[in-house]
Amino acid sequence: MDLKLAPILTISLLLLTSCGGGGSSGSGTPPPPGGGGGGSTDPVISVAEAHRFLRQASFGPTPTEVANVRDIGFEAWIDQQLLEQASLQLPYMDDLPEPENSREGQTNRLDAWFQNVLNGEDQLRQRVAFALSEIMVISDQGNLFNFPNGMADYYDKLALNAFANYPDLLKTVTLTPAMGRYLSMLGNQKPDKTLNIRPDENYAREVMQLFSIGLVMLNNDGSIILAQNDQPIPTYDQDVIEAFAHVFTGWTFYGSETFNQPSYIFRRPMIAFQEYHDEGEKFLLNDVILPAGQSAEDDLDAALENISNHANVPPFISRQLIQRLVTANPSPDYIERVSEVFIDDGSGTRGNLGAVVKTILLDPEARAEPTSDTSGKLTEPLLRLTSIWRAFNASAENDRYLFAYPEYSFSQAPLRADSVFNFFRPEFAPTGEIGKLGLVSPEMQITNETTSVLVNNYLALAIFLQHSAVAEKEVDTIYIDIEPELAIANQPEDLVDHVAEKLLGGNLSDELRAETLAMMQRWDSLEGKVVEAIYMIAASPEFATLQ
């Protein structure tokens, strides 16, 4: 959308609103296409369209941001977001009192995450950082538990590099000590035959399997290339893993006096001790050979370049970013369109993630109204909560978001997966029609008879018991603000449509609307009607699905 059109659109939207004609449900109805823009071919963005876009591109639509998108258009909104500075976790944590233990430190880290994703201006950057944190995974479940600041530093690196070039991101990820420790590249040393010691293969394996190229050769549209025997073609074999394991030797914390006396300084990239680096020849991907005698730094740069240049990276990363933001089952053409921008952003740059993200969000498959019942995705459980909290401006009196164990209720929390394989796999297909259609639904991997109830129960708590009209408040409890809803609660139809606009962009099914109204009618108190309306919609599979 052209920025110059913005004033015209604003005027036309105002007109549409004012001549909507007193009907309370008018605000959720898409305005007629074409607008009043005098010769403009750009359609006016409806509330529903802006809402859907913001569910893809942010941690949840707010009335302000919906209006903003409708005002300036999708592309201009993205362009603004690409320029937003990153909201960081570490500076925030540094300003907090020193935590008494690691658990408190980890809770502070989650607080920093909530602060940024709920209130940060850099919504798209934070959203992409979260997606990256589920592709290039580290976790506090294991050997990073005692290092919340080091983990925050890693997350900040993801946020800072969310729109950077993929090769720079990969190098940053590789050399950040939290990753080094999590996948044991930190302290990895050259072989010692006499002691049967060989380089650790952990990072070598996962950087290829999960962070870059995957297991089998792909076309640019994400489809698997089959060999003549109809079997997939592996991207690498054990020898290649061992070669990369030799590459990733000799690195430890910055500031360490010797290789075996780690400094535990997490905030600086790892440094190399050449005498612990294997100097042999290394046979990498695509017949690339690193000559013997190179430094640890030169080997690392060449090896990461070797990975970044692999033909699989564009479709492998593009598909996962599409899945995190837009749809579980992108068409091959959609993946290919994004891959092509990954390969070359138009200026000859490979891996420009800002351009990739923009392409993902502006693609017709992301923007056109969904026509198939297989489109979209299940929203990640934790993002259902952030959507509600953003829509209803949730906060605590102490300005903190102290939520120690989100994973208990949502089966996920930032940087808290059980393993480097994340909370769910991109290829997960549940039993039933999805699997039978050959489709996937990654978020269904953490959806079962227990977790679906636990999500629902937390939403019940956060809505029924933690809202602004509660009489006796706790200083550290997070409350949603329902004052705007209370103001219209004596008109139940207006209220339900208003809540539906906040949570669903107005796309409320007749059935859900009727059941919600019926439940609201049971309450005498306005407050009861409000929270009932919010709960009924928030607990619905409709809200859990991003079409």
């Binding site: 049967n196 089966s411 039993t431 029609e433 079962n448 008879e449 129960n457 049971r522 599979p541």
Partner: protein
Amino acid sequence: MIPSARSADFSDYKCLVNVFLLGGNDSFNMLVPRSDAEYSIYAASRQNLAIPQEDLLPISPLNSDGALYGFHPMATGLQGLFETGDLAIVSNVGPLLEPTSKDDYLNGNATLPPQLFSHNNQQNQWQSLRGTSALSTGWAGRIADLLAEDLSGQLLPTNISTSGNSRFQSGDTSSPYTVNNSGASSYAAFRRAAEYGPERRAAFEQLLANGYGNIHSRALAEVHTRSLQYADLINEALTLVPELNTPFPETRLGRRLRIVARLLAVKDEFEVNRQIFYITTGGFDTHDTQNQDQPDLLQDLGDCMQAFQTAMAEIGLENQVTSFTQSDFGRTLSSNGDGTDHGWGAHQLVAGGAVMGRQIYGTMPVLEIDGPDDVAGGRIIPTQSADQYAATLATWFGVPESALNEIAPSLPAFNLRNLGFMT
């Protein structure tokens, strides 16, 4: 078409409990040769990761290959179970699609399971036994599909998980049901104590029944429907046996095994004749600090498996419930300084009164780097397949011989269709 299973009689009760050790258990430090000749080979391979010979917990198998063996010093529970005859060791099992020698492997003469040494692929292989096929179901899921008609009177799904969704329990037509550590999760907003709880539940159920115009919504709605369908039955039954006398370790695995034991104690309320449980426990991917981490892991595993067997005796099901381990893979004999890497073959454990215990099944590998069983870098080639292992358990469970190849697709490639560790 799966052959009819009607020939078997399912009026008795049998139960399988899969204890999946996530990450790849280093079983060559769980069970270690104790006799001098074999120990010295092991110690030379394992170097600083070797368990001291004198610390090993001795076992006295009823069968012998001439060598002596012992468990890891912290695995007292495993030693106890083995010595009382309630535990069998199945030696050097792993994913194989056909009998495969070291030469076959090195010369590319054998069809191998895809992506050996990769965590999720090998977990999937153990759980699905798919080989190079596109099979998306797990072998417990296929058993549930196969026996669906015979077990149609059961009030709960045949497959129950304490650990969420798995390939293992995914069927073509059957779905597992997931419990939490205290039973079934119930909706706070639908309780009688909640204002308008029953009415809200009715509204929610009506909406679920109406259906949804999107596959993801429908998948979620199906899960909600199952939650509502089974939660009351499970939780009301559990009130009959609030606690067992047998104490369980307060660990993730202990709590998960305890709820399985409690569900088994009230199994009659569910009118079940065949059940399969899936339990995971993690932390076994010991790339780093193995000497610090592995003792706790093996102590927990032993203590938990022993507690579970004791609990089964307490409720009189010790001969009807069989627990068994699976894990991604074994680990390399070589080290990376203070840990080990992804291997292939590994020992597995089978416990219960129906197990022909206190025996080691299969040939123990030579734990020598570059030795006859090492395909490269200390990765031990399995001599028994995960398919044979599963088929042995499935046969005991009541899967007829005619249907075994559906459960374990690579089984026809092997002469031995039953490893003999079950009665």
